[in-house]
């Protein structure tokens, strides 16, 4: 229960910061000022937006399928929020440390699709229906390259546990029960003879342990943009043609929930990208002979310093990825539906399949 509340609070905080950042970043990239009125530099803008939404009337269209319409936002948010249960925030802080976290995450996020379809169908509105159909087609398609990219990480790490994958990517490797005698080698190849177990930092991040995961990371990042309906893959929302896609009929509190779910999805996919590819809560600074940068910036596991450093690195890496998502939204134009499907089925999926194969071979070199 405590973990539930803490995670919810943390998520709300991040989403509010993100919504504000989105508006400011968009404004700056377009040489505008963005919000300036509410609070210093408009920083209270998104808080006020939420308060405004909560005061609004909750309109249910007369011709809508009321049960589906009312239930959909809750289902969508629940599906995304449930994904946070297996995210390790620090070396010893994880809402639910289950051994098959990766599998669980992929499964529970797919539930999102059902909610989207319920919202689109229940609204009894052609824009909502079109938006929902596009959204579902897109998310289901892009789950394949994303899943394959994640699979290659799982093959390299030989684990479905987010916490174990996290431990593998830093100086704390041998502290994880069951990994006491594991060793990290530069690029994962023992034959090179450079032991990075105690060097840590960026050299033990998954994209360095097996450099081909860099390609997997790019594939995952592209697919995750599509999964969270972000530009340039925002055809389900397509403000200019579909008004707003599946949530066009929603207002007030239910719209706020949908909005929250959308931004939570962005945060979640970024968190997963950081954990699987960019060293999770591990510091990027390596230990150099006498400068024990990695040890200094890791803290002690189980103490406050460990929690603070872990949370700091995880969140700062996540925010870098989130910024990249925002920047991409304000840089690239939207893809056409056929281009979207082309990219997914003819480019990303085959490349991801090859990566999975190569990851298997790489793993053989690592042991």
């Amino acid at each position: 229960m405590l973990a539930f509340l803490l995670t919810l609070m943390l998520l709300l905080g991040i989403v509010i910061v993100l919504a504000y950042a989105e508006r400011k970043v968009a404004a700056f990239m377009q040489d505008r000022m963005g919000p300036t009125e509410a609070g210093p530099y408009g920083s209270l803008q998104s808080v006020l937006d939420v308060l405004k939404l909560l005061q609004k009337e909750d309109i249910v269209p007369a011709a809508a399928d009321k049960k589906l319409f009312k239930l959909a936002p809750i289902l969508i948010f629940a599906a995304v929020f449930a994904g946070f249960a297996v995210i390790p925030f620090t070396p010893d802080l994880i809402p639910a440390g289950i051994g098959i976290g990766v599998f669980y995450l992929l499964a529970i996020i797919s539930l999102d699709v059902v909610g989207l379809l319920m919202a689109g169908w229940g609204s009894n509105n052609k824009y909502a229906m079109l938006g929902a159909m596009r959204s579902v087609a897109q998310i289901v398609s892009y789950e394949i390259p994303a899943g394959l990219a994640i699979l290659s990480v799982v093959m390299i790490c030989q684990s479905l546990d987010f916490q174990e994958i996290s431990y593998q990517q830093g100086v704390l490797l041998n502290r994880f029960p069951g990994l006491e005698f594991e060793k990290n080698w530069l690029f994962g190849i023992e034959a090179l003879g450079i032991n990075t177990t105690n060097i840590g930092g960026i050299t033990t991040w998954n994209i360095f342990r097996a450099p081909l995961l860099l390609v997997a990371f790019v594939i995952y990042f592209i697919a995750s943009l599509a999964e969270s309906n972000r530009a340039p893959f925002d055809i389900p929302e397509a403000e200019s043609e579909l008004v707003a896609g599946f949530h066009v009929e929603y207002s007030g509190f239910r719209f706020a929930i949908l909005f929250l779910a959308e931004y939570s999805m962005m945060v979640l996919v970024s968190l997963v990208a950081v954990i699987l590819f960019l060293g999770s809560w591990n510091t990027p600074l390596p230990n150099l002979t006498t400068l024990k940068l990695a040890n200094w910036t890791t803290g002690t596991v189980g103490e406050l310093s460990g929690i603070l450093w872990g949370g700091f690195w995880l969140l700062s890496k996540t925010f870098v990825l989130l910024f990249l998502q925002l920047q991409i939204r304000w840089t690239y134009p939207r893809l056409r539906v056929d281009q979207l499907m082309y990219l997914c089925w003819k480019v990303l999926t085959p490349v991801a399949l090859v990566i999975v194969l190569l990851a298997g071979i790489w793993r053989l070199l690592m042991v």
Partner: protein
């Protein structure tokens, strides 16, 4: 000769290059967001030369100065107005309403030395109808009707768009009217008396 700018670039690396150049562009604008537009008026030679930085202003707090010869809200300096009605006549949309009352004696001088002989109990300009052609300001013989640099004067109630420039209260106007009527009566009486006197001769 093939122009490189119009050739269609294909291939993986070209695509990656163009994607990166897009990101570079937005990143450059993001980085320059600490620079601001200077509030220089359009007359300034640097007005169109802003290489980088934010271009918008926080309007009610900051504004770009307007040129002096621009056409914005009208103002009538009623002390200088001789109520000649020229402006009302030339106005293409009839938005100036003037009523005049002759004064019984000379009221005073305008600042350029013209004698004032008329009161204006009504001098209304309907800014909602005004098309800012500026004709009224050019015909005004005493230059009392002018354009001000004020352009932000929207109103919730459209009645407030009618500007009243008269300096007489309704009571004063009534008083002046009665004075005039009395004087005219006296003059008519005097005239009748003179006429009667002439007839008797």
């Amino acid at each position: 000769m093939k122009k490189s700018s119009v050739t269609h670039k294909t291939g993986f690396w070209e695509v990656v290059k163009s994607l990166l150049s897009g990101l570079r562009l937005t990143w450059r604008h993001f980085r320059n967001a600490d620079k601001r537009r200077a509030p220089v008026p359009v007359m300034d030679e640097n007005y169109f030369k802003q290489p980088e930085g934010l271009v918008t202003l926080t309007y009610p707090y900051e504004a770009i100065p307007v040129p002096e010869n621009g056409r914005y809200r009208l103002h009538n300096e009623i002390d200088d107005c001789i109520v000649c009605d020229l402006c009302a006549k030339i106005c293409p949309v009839n938005c100036i309403t003037i009523e005049s009352v002759k004064a019984t004696e000379e009221i005073g001088m305008t600042s350029d030395g013209t004698k004032k002989r008329l009161y204006a109990p009504v001098f209304d300009i309907d800014m909602a109808k005004c098309c800012y052609c500026g004709l009224c300001t050019t015909v005004c013989p005493t230059d009392c009707l002018t354009m001000t640099p004020v352009y932000d004067f929207a109103e919730v109630d459209i009645k407030n768009m009618i500007y009243h420039f008269t300096d007489l209260t309704p009571e004063q106007a009534e008083e002046k009217k009665q004075l005039l009527a009395k004087q005219q009566e006296e003059m008519a009486a005097a005239k009748a008396a003179a006429l009667a006197a002439r007839k008797q001769q």
